[in-house]
């Protein structure tokens, strides 16, 4: 492997540490929602996709079925497949390397890699591997810390953890709301989910909003 340039290292590590630190919020929220420390850590190791992880603990923690939680998390995970489609022809890897590349194909590794592409092809590949691996390490270490911390806290509501999860979702949602039509979809989804909560089993009001998105997408 050729030498990694300092801009790539700086970009990759600053993103990785910031995002990884956020694993504290996940670990704590997972335990607050009834998941064990081991389950919380397994989600970070194996699922390794923030939005999907928060979704499954959110839905199951609110009393939804495992299927509802898995479905919501998986719908959010579809974008990782699209990132894979974008990255595969750029990385050109196979076998075990492809398995590892797939596991670390997330928002951050894809984003930093595509950002580095304008410098050169090597920088793009370095950025992908470095960002993906560093997020993986930080995210998992911080998850353990958050999960153990929350376990020691007792009543996690007294520490505000029940607000950390919706705030996290809002933080993930915010950058996607640039167009008015997207804001309208967000508002409709919020109203629909609240209105349906007393009527539908837990989890379903969330999954149902995906169909609103599909309907809107097909019409436009």
């Amino acid at each position: 492997m050729s030498k990694i340039d300092s801009v790539t290292v700086r970009d990759s590590l600053s993103v990785s540490f910031t995002v990884g630190a956020y694993g504290v919020a996940f670990g704590a929220a997972a335990v607050a929602n009834g998941f064990s420390v081991v389950q919380s850590c397994l989600l970070s190791l194996l699922t390794f996709s923030g939005a999907s992880q928060f979704a499954v603990i959110g839905v199951v923690g609110a009393g939804g079925s495992a299927i509802s939680g898995i479905a919501t998390a998986s719908l959010l995970g579809i974008r990782n497949a699209l990132y894979g489609v974008i990255m595969a022809p750029r990385l050109k890897v196979s076998g075990l390397r492809r398995v590892i590349a797939a596991q670390i194909t997330i928002d951050e590794s894809t984003g930093v890699a595509l950002g580095a592409e304008k410098r050169n092809e090597a920088a793009m590949r370095h950025a992908f591997w470095l960002t993906g691996s560093a997020v993986f390490i930080f995210w998992n270490l911080f998850t353990v810390a958050g999960a153990l911390g929350a376990q020691a806290m007792g009543d996690t509501r007294a520490w505000g953890l029940d607000s950390a999860v919706p705030a996290a979702f809002l933080g993930l949602l915010w950058p996607r709301l640039e167009k008015n039509s997207d804001r309208a979809l967000a508002i409709v989804s919020i109203i629909f989910a609240i209105a349906m909560t007393p009527i539908l089993p837990a989890g379903l009001p969330i999954i149902a909003t995906a169909f609103i998105a599909i309907t809107v997408g097909l019409r436009r």
């Binding site: 959110g58 079925s65 495992a66 719908l75 998105a213």
Partner: protein, 102 residues
């Protein structure tokens, strides 16, 4: 196997399957513009619904409590372009204050 284990393992298996599928399927399969559009819209709908359900409901009942204060703080933090961890922590602190003292 209880709900939490089933959810943990099921989510993990599908998450990896999706990632690996992306690296393995022919590129032109996903080039349909409508599919791209829908893929951009689904996270907006789901994340909005998750914000709503996590803030305004508890055990299938609609309710307004300390979590709304946390969410409002998060909105202010985002409007001020605060970094991610600041958004989450400021929301948690506000919510904790409301929960403990009100």
């Amino acid at each position: 196997m209880n709900t939490f284990w089933f959810a943990t393992i099921g989510t993990s298996v599908i998450a990896f399957a999706l990632k690996f599928a992306g690296h393995s399927i022919p590129q032109q399969w996903l080039e349909n513009p409508k599919l791209q559009k829908i893929n951009a819209l689904i996270p907006i709908a789901l994340l909005s619904a998750l914000v709503a359900v996590q803030t305004f409901t508890s055990e299938s009942k609609v309710m307004i409590d300390h979590r709304l204060a946390g969410l409002c703080t998060a909105v202010v933090a985002l409007l001020l372009k605060a970094p991610f961890p600041v958004v989450v922590i400021s929301a948690a602190v506000t919510s904790a204050v409301m929960y403990n003292w009100l």
